[in-house]
Amino acid sequence: MNGNGKKLPGSLAKDARIASWVAIEADGTVTVRTGKVEIGQGIRTAVAMIAAEELDVAMARIRVVSGITGEVVDEGVTSGSGSMEQTGRALRQVTAEARAALMAKAAAHLGVDAATLEVEDGTVRSPATNSQVTYWELQGGQAFVGEATGAVAPKDPASYTLVGKRMVEIDAVAKVTGGAAFIHDLAMDGLVHGRVVRPPSQGAKLLSVDAAAARRLEGVIEVVESGSFLGIVATDEWQAIKARDALALSAQWEESARLPDEDNISAWLIDNESAAHPVIDGTPQDAPVSAIAVPEGAAKTLEASYTRPYHMHASLGPSAAVALFADGRLTVHSPSQGPYPLARALAGSLGLENDAITIIHVQGAGCYGHNGADDVSLDAALLAQAVPGRPVRLQWTRADEHLWEPYGPAMVVMTNASLDNDGKIIDWNLDLWSTTHQGRPRPTTATHSSLLADWYREPVRARPVAKPNFSNESGAHRNAWSTYDLPRQRVVSHFVAKTPLRTSSFRGLGNYANIFAIESFMDELAQAAGIDPLEFRLAHLGDERGRAVLNAAAEAIGWPPGGPGSGTGKGIAFNRYKNAKAYAAVAMEVEVNEENGEIIVKRAVVAGDAGQVVSADGLACQLEGGVIQAISWTLKERVRFGPQRVTSADWESYPILTFTEAPMVECILLNQPGLPYLGAGEGSQGPGGAALANAVFNATGVRLREIPFTPERVKRMMVAAGRGP
């Protein structure tokens, strides 16, 4: 709220000062500040477009400052598809207010009525007096005074010249020419190189290591040994790699991890102790759970169980950070999604005051959730502490990232629903089982830390105890509450506190498993009712925007498909992300090889409604990329592990979709001029997985409920169903 009691949009409610968000510089540029960071989702380009549009300046004049603690508003973590809703909506309003302030100044300067003024690229003209003045003359180098009030109306979308158009990413040139675009490319005077040696399995203790031998190696500046944490600093990168390898080879460990049976992870989730909470309208309640009761008038009752394995974010570039300790201050250049939360965690870990730490966000490779970005920042800080005054660049190895990033949790989702004689759903039940999805950095205490190295170095800190998440549309229960119009929903989240494998936020959280289950089950119910799957969905969906994306995807893929069993098939699926954000429907056409069980996705369509479109290409890339990533998760991916160790250490043991396997994806954007921006970055994975399962059913008559759909599994299912060789 501001002083007038008017609610300000997005993160503007956290800090209404205009100067916190936008500045007119003396050199003819405009600085836009955001607490959200670039993770490949195109947020920097989108906010630049919004600011350029509202201020009437050329895109080339906009400089975006993002994710530097102390310089930008604390907008928490860049996650949950929240950037456009939080920082985008804030910047739209605050730049509109900045423009109004500039107009008032210009009117006074030119001695005319502000309403008569015109602006072109920051030059304000009075046609009546044929006079002009620029933003830079009026405000260059002076901070805006005052706060946004919410009283200024942003531009009428009908007059947009930039917002809604295709725009080349503002960092594109560096990316296509091999310029310094990433944290990995950061150059600094006196830069030295670090590497860490991680244990062979979780919780392993270091018994012995020949640090002295590593210290004698060429170029080695320092070997850091604290408890079971091992690191090395060397003059150049190759020396650091060789020293790391030597150190790793000499290290002896005592292993203690006991991992569940990977092939029976679903049974492990269900059989372990768990806390059951009813979910009402997307929010878990601390209340008793009711039993499933088949209602009167049920013509048919169906039930099914769906599972997903542990998945990894699998960033293409392993996590990296650059840290410098000097004069009692720590500066970390980090790809973290949450610069302020990371600073608070590091402060506790290192015994520093919050204001002695600066985090400067620099883009990493795409992260798709909580990967190694925060952990590598502590690693780099620990090495930097050992060589004060020298910036240490630490890059994880491929195996470090694969083995030590926090994974997306395995889940089981059981559904049960009844149909009446008209094929309408009259009762709906969904029970889900999962470990935590919340592992992001919290402030480190004397006893607990969320950062990896703290669990191994002295003083050893414990992982925070995982607790059930009672927030709306969060954690495992994200999108467990169905968007469809159902007379009754009984949704239960079974929270498993144990975390044999460390889990945290993975793109979409529970959405992927829940929508995979809900949208597969909708097809199963449609089949049972003898109704076309699209028609069945539309009969249970009054929301016009939801209906529109479904119809658009269906039309583009060519609906209806033929009857089941021809070897090729089409499937469709829908969700509204978090029941509050972007709408997305995905349709796919697949071919299933009955000889070897291989699924080929021939074509995919995604139709999305994210409110007012800002950066059309950026939005389309997020939706299309989400579909491709979901195909990869669903067809190929699972974290492999034995009784003690994770064994998915590289791309061979954790294969992802390749260029010869990825389909062309057609994207249809249903623009809603003037309606609020809706987060879309996690909108298409849930329906992506389900559309694939539904298409396979249409092609073969076989229903796949266990992810991933590997050829071996498909073949086994086909044989069990009496199909295939």
Binding site: I39, G40, Q41, G42, R166, V168, E169, D171, A172, V173, K175, V176, T177, G178, G179, A180, A181, F182, H184, A187, D236, E237, W238, I241, A314, S315, L316, G317, P318, Q363, G364, A365, G366, Q395, T397, R398, D617, G618, A620, C621, Q622, E624, G625, G626, V627, I628, Q629, S632, D650, W651, E652, I656, L657, T658, F659, T660, A662, P663, M664, V665
Partner: protein, 156 residues
């Protein structure tokens, strides 16, 4: 023991002192200051480190300095620059063929080798040429469109 190697990179003679068994990648990113080739896996599985050796794609994370010294080396920096973009580079921008962009230099380098040998590839030929390059953001279709666009641009 470190030795001196005379390399031919992007048409220029460059001298590097380093271990003969050091992968070319660390010479590029270190003393040579060429940051386009990226470390992704260190084991020829992802293609982020791709360069061309005598026109053929090579994984600079594995090729050693000693091996590379015998060849003409082309990196993304030698394909085009900000003021003088290669059609592949402008096509990647025009088609918005990346999201995070970490795999982009490796893809452009690999696509360059393809177009030098096959100036008019179809979708399947492009996908096959890029099959050893990984992209995690899911820009595959746009990458293929970009390579086709560049092929048209380059056609005589």
């Amino acid at each position: 023991m470190a030795e001196t190697f005379n390399l031919r990179i992007n048409g220029a003679a460059r001298q590097v002192v380093g271990d003969p068994d050091m992968p070319l990648l660390y010479a590029l990113r270190g003393p040579l200051g060429l940051l386009g080739a990226k470390y992704g896996c260190g084991s020829e599985q992802c293609g982020s480190c791709s360069v061309l050796l005598d026109g053929e794609r090579a994984f600079s994370c594995k090729i050693t300095l000693a091996q590379a010294a015998a060849s003409d080396i082309l990196t993304i920096e030698g394909i085009g620059t900000e003021g003088n973009l290669h059609p592949l580079q402008s096509a990647f921008m025009e088609e918005h063929a990346f999201q995070c962009g970490y795999c982009t230099p490796g893809l452009i380098v690999t696509a360059k080798a393809l177009l030098d040998q096959n100036p008019d590839p179809d979708d399947a030929a492009i996908a096959t040429a890029l099959r050893d390059n990984l992209c995690r953001c899911g820009s595959h279709g746009r990458v293929i469109a970009a390579v086709k666009r560049a092929a048209k641009e380059l056609a005589p």
